[in-house]
């Protein structure tokens, strides 16, 4: 039996529909790719699961054949298109693009905004999507926004402070902005540092400069590599002194 007919039989046994001829790699001749439809002819039936495809690949591998798949998944594409249309209609001045993946009862939606949007608007979009997915009986919904400029989170502030401490709130803001973070204003930064101080992660010196407490350092941890924050700090100190 040839490799091709062996694979064809494997696929037929699992009732998998080929979208076109099996492809044999032009260099590594023991490698094949099957273009398959992700759903069955009958719309009510689900298409092959990842488990089924892995089992077929494993069976092929036992015969010395490497088998990969390209899934022609019209339904997922249509569904992604519907979510895009919904978002474009409801948030037309805000959303540039989106991409949705649904795996069983879990949905992930990436939303690319046209411009920076405030947290309230983000929450509105999240709520809108969660409500929509609830109608489809999907409760595990994650929405991710893709920004070029982000407001620094507490961990990001601590990491930056670790490198350049001791420093003033203004120096810390500048350092974050150099990394393309958006610091709303000095008052915002003062509040953020105050919250970290109350949480025991940051210490404020009498001269208004800040540095990390032992607890703050412990929370961040370190790593043994060329990108270690300890090395970055040593380099930053050297730069400061020179």
């Amino acid at each position: 039996m040839t490799d091709l007919s062996f694979i064809e039989q494997l696929l037929k046994a699992k009732k998998i529909r080929l979208a076109g001829p099996l492809i044999q790699d032009h260099v590594e001749t023991d490698r094949f790719v099957a273009f398959i439809f992700a759903s069955s002819n009958d719309d009510k039936k689900k298409g092959p699961s990842q488990l089924t495809l892995s089992a077929i690949s494993a069976a092929a591998e036992r015969q010395g054949i490497q088998l990969g798949f390209v899934l022609i998944d019209k339904k997922s594409e249509e569904f992604d298109g519907s979510i895009k249309t919904l978002l474009f209609t409801k948030f037309q001045n805000i959303v540039r693009n989106s991409f949705t993946v649904v795996n069983y009862k879990r949905a992930s939606v990436w939303v690319e905004p046209k411009k920076r949007i405030d947290p309230e608007k983000m929450e509105e979009i999240r709520k809108f999507l969660r409500e929509f997915f609830t109608l489809l009986d999907i409760d595990d919904v994650s929405v991710f926004f893709t920004h070029d400029e982000d407001i620094p989170t507490p961990t990001v502030i601590l990491r930056s402070l670790r490198i350049i401490a001791p420093c003033s709130a203004a120096s810390l803001s500048r350092s974050l902005e150099e990394k393309r973070y958006k610091v709303p204003n000095e008052v915002w930064m003062a509040h953020a540092l105050d919250r970290l101080r109350k949480a025991g992660s940051v210490v404020r010196k009498a001269n208004g400069q800040f540095f990390l407490s032992l607890e703050g350092l412990r929370r961040l941890g370190t790593e043994k590599s060329r990108a270690s924050p300890d090395i970055k700090r040593a380099l930053a100190l050297g730069k400061k002194d020179s």
Partner: protein, 162 residues
């Protein structure tokens, strides 16, 4: 590259009757390269050596060092109870699977387009054509999907690596 792919697609569909198969398969090729180059430039931005970025190796790169770094940053953010950062890094981590799957499938389509001339392009739909079952409209959407997923990955990486 995406624009070139789009031009070839339009040309194949409306004008090039004699050699429309060649124009159509070149459209698939350019759509793939548009995506590959986007991924390549992002990987270079996040310090992957250019020589390591080869066709067929994207999955290995994304699921290796990059995923590990993001996982570690996510654990750190969880320790700090930094929900915003956990969500952002999670966005990058979850983007890896659809991104590597899309780029790998696009590569396979490009292999068919370039090396399997015996598999002809099928001009059977009113608004396009397909190759081995994959519609040109699907290939056209690859780029915007890759852009969105890469933006999430880049954003997560910056916070993990700063």
């Amino acid at each position: 590259m995406h624009a070139v792919g789009h031009h070839l697609r339009t040309y194949a569909h409306h004008n090039a009757v004699a050699e429309r198969d060649a124009f159509a398969r070149s459209a698939f090729n350019r759509y793939y390269y548009g995506c590959f180059l986007l991924v390549r430039s992002t990987l270079i931005e996040i310090n992957v050596p250019p020589n390591n970025i080869k066709h067929g190796k994207i999955k290995e790169i994304l699921e290796g060092k990059i995923a590990k770094k993001l996982e570690s940053a996510k654990r750190q953010a969880q320790k700090n109870e930094d929900g915003t950062l956990v969500n952002k890094i999670d966005g990058g981590l979850r983007a890896i699977e659809p991104l590597q799957r899309l780029i790998e499938e696009a590569r396979q389509v490009r292999e068919v387009a370039d090396y399997k001339p015996e598999i002809e392009v099928s001009f059977n739909s009113p608004d396009g054509f397909s190759l081995n079952g994959l519609d040109i409209n699907s290939a056209h959407r690859w780029e915007e999907t890759v852009r969105t997923l890469l933006a999430s990955l880049k954003s997560a990486w910056r916070d993990a690596d700063d």
